[in-house]
Amino acid sequence: MKKTIFTLFSLLGTAFAEHVTVLGVNDMHANIDGMPQLATFVKQERQNAPGLLLMAAGDSRTGNPYVDNGNRPGIPIVTLMNHVGFDLSTFGNHEFDSGAAALRDYINAAEFDFVCANIFTTDTQGIDVKPYKIFERNGVRIGVLGLVQVGETGIPDAHPDQCKGLKFASPFETAAYYKHLRSFCDVLIVLTHLGFEDDVKLAQMFPEADAIIGGHSHTRVNGGYIMNGVLITQAENKLKYVTRLTFDVEDGKVVSKKAELLPLKDLPADVATIELVEKTKSLPFFKRQLTTVKRGITSRESLGCMMADAISARAVSDIAIVNRGGVRLEDFPAGPLTVADVYRLDPFGNAIIRATLTGKELIDLIESIPQADHYGAPCVSGMTYKCVKPSAELKPMRVTEALLADGTPIDPEARYTVAYNSYIASVAPAKPADAGIAIDSDGAECLIRFLEKKAEVDYEGVSRVDTTIED
């Protein structure tokens, strides 16, 4: 008899439980090609759970020139997010990549809200971001607090110029002010862009939260990770996965919760969303002429010199280095040079690093690059050099003379700012004392910014390296 009554109460209890479904994605990085599969998934889920909430944990933009380099940076991804039916997003560090005015445009274009508790703006910027939002679904109150990562410089990992006028506080100190949200919500979620390791740290000090939907570290959290009773999730990046969180709520309390990591790539693509993606790709961005090449460029080295000049200009460095393997065209004809041509010339998306090197470290670095990049002596800007390359492949190249652009010898003891790509920084055996810092542009972006300011370029015959092959 006792058992029968217990079962009856159990069944009644289950009947009164409300189910809340939340879908989380993060770090989409402008992967518009993944949106049709996400749209299919969300449509299917909404048939089963009409009240579900779809959330993005930041860095929705940055990573695709169709999205980032048009007249309105980031807007194409927001348009697609509107179409798919996002309910909420927080900021990632890359939401700040185009400055405050572009951020305002981005927020205003969204048909969903942004939440972020640790950003502070001025009235004149017109950026109005709430720290949290409370949704109500079938009588259940779901509170979502937003937090973005802040680096050692006091801003998110974006170019300081783009964060001008914006102020940020520590996400951890900020979270402590919002513990009271627990009393206003049946389900409390923190939508973060801190990275998984910092989400674990946040969970240790914020057990009031039921779940953290995280981003930033591109971590594939399979099934959720529980720390201090808080369910932490993250769905890697670029719409490879979506996390489905489900909460059972009884009498204003979460009685059970779970997270499932679900792959998107094998789902059928939603036709209406494909059309919108194709429309985005038909924007004239890639066809834009940046400059005119006066005389056809007939060598990889001359193209490399142009790339090095572009990197030096963007990084504001004394010297720039480009490994020849990073120059993906052998020649370029006279005539128009478009954005598409830039991406053929430098398709890698490698970050550009600026470091301060002694003259000796600079020469060591140049000598060591061909050991990892087998295309020969690297191309340079701001200097010229002579080198000897033994014909035996394994013997290293030696620099025998190195001059600055004005003809002054490079002083082994003097210090120079030097820019080069992240591939060189990672694979060249030489290790300068200053490991350097990534600037906010990759090689292609440096070229676009450099070339679009010039009506004409003439690099044919430009050579800054004199190589002697030694028997």
Partner: protein, 64 residues
């Protein structure tokens, strides 16, 4: 900045990705870039473009 790959200290530029750190680790160790996935200290798989932060620990094999 200093990060850790397979518990070895690696000096890498600020703004590096997990793949940058692993490449630097392999260059320093004189070994080939390993195949397979990368992991954080909790055993989660990482995307190769996962941003590195000071003192972050990653692994080229499942360490647990």
């Amino acid at each position: 900045m200093l990060v850790y790959v397979n518990n070895a200290e690696v000096s890498i530029f600020t703004g590096a990705t997990a793949l940058d750190a692993v490449r630097r680790y392999c260059t320093d160790a004189g070994i080939a870039l390993p195949e397979g996935e990368l992991y954080d200290m909790y055993g989660n798989v990482l995307a190769t473009d996962s941003p590195m932060t000071e003192e972050r620990c990653i692994f080229t094999y499942y360490p647990f």
